[in-house]
Structures are given as structure tokens and as C-alpha cells.
Symmetry: C2
Subunit: 140 residues, 2 copies
DNA sequence: CATCAATACTTGTATATACAAATAAAACAC
DNA sequence: GTGTTTTATTTGTATATACAAGTATTGATG
């Protein structure tokens, strides 16, 4: 069934959720080569680009709750991709050598993801949509 | 932090997820008066409007997996708002009288939700955005 | 008509995320 | 410099959803 066939599809609640689920799925596909979910992968990229970054900063950048960041970091730590060093009330997150070696592969996944949806939606429209969604999210 | 301040915010993955989370929150607020999550409430409204509807149909209309529909129905059953009658391999879902009495309240919540986001985004833009998101989701 | 395939739904389990409370350190206030 | 407030992070627990496997019924095929 197309979205447009559903009676409740005019509702922002459904549109945004359904879209997010479909995008999530597409993204998961793109990040399979590195065996990470998109969230983990993005967090890891930030850590590689900005070593010693703190969980609070990650939460703000990724727009996720601090508790969620803790959970993401935990999993990356298990995989020996990051490590945490706590000093006082702050914690610094560092990439391991293993993670740094993965960097170009991670970038390739970002690229694959972008390419795959740009191919479906058109480069132009794809970018416009993202801009609009950000604008909308900022207002809410 | 605004979405636009984050480096990774140009990524469709983030935009769509962040937007969905914010919309979800707004929606939850709107449905608090009936003590249901938006998903449960929408499912219930469909059941009231279309008694004897089957889980498979609900899954298609709400764009959720059948297993998710089962879980939603279970919770509504606990709350004595719907009941399931299985005949052969098919199952029919019916609203209870208690649910039917709630109908106008449910509608009021839909309305409150629409009003609250239309107030922030503008009626015009709000509708346009939904249309675009559906179009995009259908293509993916 | 006996088996095999398809359909409809449920169950077990996993993931992504959140909220609220807990902990711990730092900053402030007097 | 002791007591209180604020900040940073983690932990316990809950919700929303999915996937894969299981069950049960119906339909199709030889």
C-alpha cells in the first residue's frame, strides 16, 4: 500500500514516523559493510574526527539523550572501537587505532547511503527535503 | 543546539529521525488526555470506524509490521478497549462499548495535535510537508 | 484426497531510544 | 571551608518497533 492510500496518512505523526523507518532501513543497509548501525557509525566518526569529545557534546550533536549516548558508547567500547577516560565529572571518549583504520570505510558508507537515496529521490530534491525537515524540527 | 548547527545534520538519516522523535513527543502530549500513545490511539480509531477489521489490514494502513499490530492490540485488549475474535486463520478486531464512548475524545486529540503543529509551522506549510514526506517514503 | 504451498497471525527475542533516579564532581554562596 | 546547587554521566527501567521462527488454517496440485 502506498502511503497515500491510508486514511490517516495526512497526519504528520504517520508521515514522519513512516519516513524515518524507511530511511533507517536504507541506512542500515548502507552501514552493513562495517557491521555498525547508523547511529553507532556516526558517533564513531565524530569521535575519530574529534578525539577526547565528551558524551554531552555527542548528545547535542546527534540530538540524542545523554543516556542513549552512554549506551552507544558502551557498545563501541565492547567492540574495541572507542575507550572512555573519566576525569572528575567529565569523560573523554577516544578512538582506538582499530577505529582510526576504519575511518575511510565509514566514510564510504556515508557516501553509499547518500548515493542510494539521491539516486531514488534526485540529488536536488533530496537536499531540499533534508533542509525542510531540519527547519521543521528546529521549530518544534 | 539547532539542527543546523550539527555537522551531520545534512544527512537524511538524522533529519528524518530527529524530526520523527520531535513529532512523536508532540503527539504523545496531544494524546495524554486519553492515556494512549499515538499508535494505540490511531489503531483504536480505525477499529471503531471499521469494526471487525483484521490485523493484516491494520498493518497495511498503519504501515507497521503484523507483529507490531499484535502487540498494539494486546495492550488495547488489556485496557478493555478492543476484543479479538478468531475464526479460522483470520482474526477480527472489534471495539468495546467503552471504546466507542471514547471516540469523540480521540477525535479531539487528533485535532489538538493538528492544531498544535499547524500553529507552529503554519497550516499551509504543515500540509505541504506531510505531502512531501509521503511522496518521499513511497519512493523509498 | 494427501501433500505441499500460501496466508494470517502470534511469539520469542532484539534494537533503538527515552525518562527518571542515582552518583559524583565542581562551582557557588555565605 | 561547610553546605547547597549545578553539571556530567551512568544505571535501571520502559516503550516502540522489528525480524525471524512458530502455529494454524486455507487453497492448490498432482
Amino acid at each position: 500500500m502506498n502511503t497515500s492510500e491510508s486514511k490517516y496518512s495526512q497526519c504528520l505523526y504517520f508521515s514522519s514516523n513512516a519516513l524515518a523507518r524507511k530511511v533507517e532501513k536504507l541506512a542500515q543497509e548502507s552501514w552493513k559493510p562495517v557491521g555498525l548501525s547508523p547511529s553507532h557509525a556516526y558517533l564513531l566518526m565524530i569521535v575519530i574526527e574529534d578525539p577526547a569529545v565528551q558524551p554531552g557534546t555527542l548528545a547535542r550533536e546527534l540530538q540524542l539523550q545523554p543516556s542513549t549516548i552512554t549506551r552507544l558508547i558502551e557498545k563501541l567500547e565492547e567492540k574495541k572501537l572507542v575507550l572512555r577516560i573519566t576525569e572528575g565529572k567529565a569523560t573523554n571518549v577516544y578512538p582506538t587505532p582499530r577505529a582510526k583504520e576504519m575511518y575511510s570505510k565509514l566514510k564510504a558508507c556515508v557516501n553509499h547511503f547518500y548515493t542510494s537515496h539521491a539516486a531514488i529521490l534526485g540529488k536536488e530534491e533530496s537536499t531540499k527535503m533534508v533542509r525542510n525537515m531540519n527547519k521543521l524540527a528546529d521549530k518544534l
